[in-house]
Symmetry: C2
Subunit: 201 residues, 2 copies
């Protein structure tokens, strides 16, 4: 709006981008739609033309966060073939996340913190958590261990621990701590070390 430069993307897209930045950085309840439309450089009418209301905007914000994060994690995993390396890769991706200067924790944990039990936030958080669990359960099942389910639970806990510690203490190194501990857990579960190459990519 500031300048009559040609409209970059659609209003809906810009709203989503503004919502992503503001909701993540400052919290969902904290940020009003006035702030969102101002940051997007868009009229208020466009928000209610593109979305049914703030709830839908929040829902799409979380959905997109989920999608982007899943892509990033999947890419990190798929760079390796060895089951053990694929698991550890998740914590390396976490490390790159924590290194971002604007890191402010998991969008779903933060949303849950201020969400009512049956809100869109809680809904999105539930499907996100299902994804996290499936992720680690699949990875753990690919390894040759006694109790992949318990292993997966432990890996999820290390994942959550890294995310929370990194946020609360502004400590990006939590990713390495989690990774180191994960290695210990994998050793204990009888997950074999890398045999040959697999440094793919």
């Amino acid at each position: 709006m500031t300048k009559p430069e040609q409209r970059r993307r659609t209003a809906k897209h810009r709203l989503l981008q503004a919502a992503d930045e503001l909701f993540y950085n400052e919290g969902i309840h904290t940020v009003g739609i006035d702030r969102v439309i101002a940051h997007a450089g868009v009229a208020k009418g466009s928000l209610y033309y593109s979305f049914t209301g703030k709830d839908e905007l929040v829902h799409e914000y979380l959905t997109h966060r989920h999608g982007k994060w899943a892509e990033r994690v999947t890419a990190g995993i798929e760079a390796h073939t060895d089951p053990r390396a694929r698991i550890l890769a998740v914590y390396d991706v976490l490390g790159t996340l924590f290194a971002q200067p604007d890191y402010r924790g998991c969008a779903f944990m933060n949303a849950t913190a201020e969400a009512a039990p049956d809100s869109v936030e809680a809904q999105a958080a539930t499907t996100f958590r299902a994804w996290v669990h499936k992720l680690f359960l699949d990875l753990a099942t690919d390894g040759d261990t006694d109790d992949p389910k318990q292993l997966a639970e432990t890996l999820v806990l290390l994942y959550d621990g890294a995310v929370a510690t990194a946020q609360m203490d502004k400590a990006p190194e939590a990713a390495r701590t989690a990774r180191r501990t994960a290695e210990l857990v994998l050793d204990n579960a009888g997950m074999p070390h890398v045999k040959a190459g697999a440094k793919a990519l």
Copy 2:
């Protein structure tokens, strides 16, 4: 208020109690002072007579949470003398916390999620985190290990992981997962197992 029964405790005390319940269960930004005074059965004037404003109420809410939790953890620790047992006791206390039906995560993590950088919430969270780190660093130093600092970091990560997982998945068993993993970490750090009794309390 409902009945003219003799005033139970002071208005300030009831406000604090109401704030504790509502802020913890529903979030700080979500709950307005009208809800707080209604739940406390107290006039609005009493709030601004006892506190300078909502911020102070929030600050005292978090301070009291900190104090009560510290007491509880300390009590759990002091039931043991063996360094290893004292560390593991923390995760057992977490287990009793998660078992509470109203458990909704760490008040300080939740507060941080919706807090501005220099808010009272952020302030209280900082001193809480300092306490957590000192707690584990002291415990780790008491054990006879090579790198107590790194050990403490790992234990904090497991603590945070348990707290976060238990909240997100409504999974109280995360405490046992964290404890099990902590044992593994302690073994690896060369922390000796219980020699004799210490099953105090």
